[in-house]
Each structure stands twice: as C-alpha cells, then as structure tokens.
Symmetry: C2
Subunit: 203 residues, 2 copies
DNA sequence: CTATTTTATGACCATATGGTCCATAAATTG
DNA sequence: CAATTTATGGACCATATGGTCATAAAATAG
C-alpha cells in the first residue's frame, strides 16, 4: 500500500502526488468541516477517482487524519520559526501574536482554523482526533512557556509574571481570536487587545 | 402552524411542550453538532414522531435555529445577572470569568459550547446562523464594555486601560477557554490565567 | 513475449439521510 | 349528535452517503 516514490516499483506508477492530494483535501475540510464534506467534494478537489482515493488513504477518516496532521505540522513549523531560541524571545512572542491578528483579519479570517473547528466538531467523539488536538495544544503551550521563560530570564517580563500562566492565557486569547473572528474580522480591535497584553506583561 | 398555548383552540391539542422539545433538541445539537445529529437522534431525544416535529418546527434547520436561540437567550440571561448595574461592576466581571472557568473545568468541560461549535461549523455557510452568532458576540462584548466602563468610572481599573479593548480581550479569552478546554479541562491553569488578568487590569 | 504487480476508473451496492403524506385519533364547536 | 380542526405515527420517497469491486492499463521481472 505504502510505497517509496523515489524508488522504482513493480506495478503501474501512481499518477498523482499524495502530498498534493492531502493538501487539497485539507483545503476542503478546512473550509467545510468534516461532516459537511462529502466524498464527491473530496474527489473533485483532489481530482482522484473513488478507487484511487480509497486505495491510497483507506477512507474519508483516514484522509482527514492525514490532512489534520499536515495542518498541525505546518502550524508548528511557523511557530518554531517565530519562537526560535536564537532570536529575541519576547519579539518572537510578539510576532506570533501579530500573525494570529493577521490571520484573523480581513477576508481570509472567516475561514477560521482547522484545528479549532475540528476540536469543536469531533473533539470528544473521535479518539484519534482528540489525541492529535490535545497534543498540538500541549506542544504549542509548551513552546510559548519556553519562550516566555527565556524572556523572563532576560528580565523582559513584568514582575511576578509566571511564564506558564501567561502561556495558558495566550493559548486562550489566540484560539479565541479564531472563534470571534468568524463573525467579526475587525483588525484594529484585535490589535488593540494584543497590544494591551504585551504592554502589561512585558517590560 | 403557530398557536397560543394559553388560549383554547379548535382542534386536537398538542400533546407535547414545544419548549421542552427545543430544550431536548438543544442538548443533542450541543453534544453532537449540527451535521452529525440525525433526524432519528432528534426524534429519540424529543420523543416526537416525524410528523409532529415537522409540523411544529418546519425542518431540522428550523429546529436548530430555535435551539440556538434558546441557548443564546440563556447565556445572555446569566450574563445580565452577573453584570447587573446595581451590583459592583468589577465583581460582576470577576463572576463572569469565574463562571467560564467553572464551565470549562472538570467533567462537563468537554461538552464545549453550542455557540462556539456552531460558529466554527456553520459560521460562514449559513446566513441565519451567522447573524445570530455575530449578534450574540456583539451583545456580549457590549455588555462587558459597559461593565468595565462602570468599573473605570469608579476608579477600579488600572491606569490607561480602555474598557472596549479589555472587553474584546475578554471575549477572546472566554471563547478561547471553551476551545482549549475541549482537550484540557485543568481548572487551576484557567484559574491562574484569569487571575493574572484581573490582577493586572483591575485595582 | 508472458507473468506479475500495482494503479486507475467508474459502475455498483447497501444503507442512511432529510423530508412528505395520509389514514387515524382526539379534542372543540355548533 | 355531526362537523371541524389539529395532532400523531409511521409508511413511504427520492436521493445522497460512504464504501466495494471487477476490469483495464501501465510498469517491471524473467
């Protein structure tokens, strides 16, 4: 079933790129949600026939998991770039907040976030999904805590501010922005809300 | 179709209480989501036959709207009680935050929030739903702004803190808690996050 | 070349879906 | 009582659903 694309294999070669298919499927699930996405939707987006899709990914759920994994990996890659230990820690956190403001403003805002949508739609009904979401949130919170810990050791955090506590607060703020922006993508309000946080917790 | 239960009507009287049916339907939509809830699910929860349900509520979507309206009304009732102008404003905000911490902790946390789930699942695909969610968020933010405005005029807010900005921040924090708590209902983390906010913005 | 292995295609399937309809029951009115 | 109005339950319907399978096509091995 799984094969190395780099090496010459026996049978008829695959005519599509599985990564591209996952990327396309991710887009549909992202804008439409899991249950509201039908097989025909996925076939149209990926340009696959039913048989090919099932042979490659097992079923709709399997494909969804792959798409979710890709979305999460992309998110963490961006987060890692921003919170790179070689860069200024507080500046990294600031960049991260700025990105969320950016993503939840204007036209693209209404698309929301695949992780948040999935957490709400399947969170407590699908163990495989739940585990992935939990792990993602935990990882993100851990990275934020680490960055804030560095900021603190550099004396850049206001007195009495605990990195872990602020990290949890930021998690709520960031994921909350994705919810609120579904019906209100006013950029300046988000910017002000984020600025007030940095003003009060940094120094 | 719509009739006054208080007044005597001509034909056979209804054998069920529509409000109870809406309440039951709300429960199912709340734990299961819109698309994942089937007609049989709703019939079982409400103890109605198909005919009765369709006669009373039009269709699944109509019933959902009624359930959503009820959920929103309940939420705003609680919010109003907490932010009652006759009570201490900052204390009211504190109570509101405490209630969200409560709701997102322990066993019941994983049920999430019907508004947040709906915003993510149907937000940008269903105009009637979107309007309701937008209005709810707008109302909630307005009430928080008003309460914070009162707190400020009583000198209970830290210097340079804008009520509208904090209200938006609180919106994100509160709705974000509902997302994060789907996979992590650790109470103490939420408590600490909320406390840090009150410590820094109140006085 | 033939045999083998793998993929692609789309017809096909069983079932679940939301929604409609109607015969019957039950209550009210005159 | 008869007539009227409404509610009920469930049979029924068209369609959409996720999923399977037989066959054809393309590549390699010998």
């Amino acid at each position: 079933m799984i094969r190395q694309t780099s090496q010459r294999m026996r049978g008829r070669p695959r005519e599509f790129d599985p990564d591209e298919a996952i990327e396309s499927a991710m887009g549909v699930f992202w804008s439409t949600g899991y249950h509201a996405t039908s097989l025909p939707d996925l076939l149209a987006a990926t340009n696959l026939s039913r048989g090919s899709l099932y042979a490659a990914f097992g079923d709709k759920h399997g494909l969804f998991l792959r798409a979710l994994d890709r979305y999460i990996a992309d998110s963490l890659t961006r987060l890692d770039a921003e919170l790179d230990p070689r860069k200024d820690a507080l500046e990294g956190v600031r960049a991260c907040l700025a990105r969320y403001v950016e993503r939840t403003s204007g036209a693209g805002a209404k698309r929301g976030c695949l992780v948040v949508a999935t957490a709400m739609e399947l969170g407590s009904h699908d163990a495989e999904v739940e585990q992935r979401i939990r792990r993602f949130f935990r990882t993100m919170e851990t990275r934020l805590t680490a960055a804030l810990g560095r900021a603190k050791s550099e004396g850049r955090l206001a007195d009495g501010i605990e990195p872990a506590t602020v990290a949890r607060l930021l998690m709520c703020v960031l994921e909350g922005m994705r919810v609120v922006s579904k019906t209100n993508s006013d950029r300046s309000a988000s910017e002000a809300a984020v600025r007030i946080l940095l003003d009060r917790f940094g120094k």
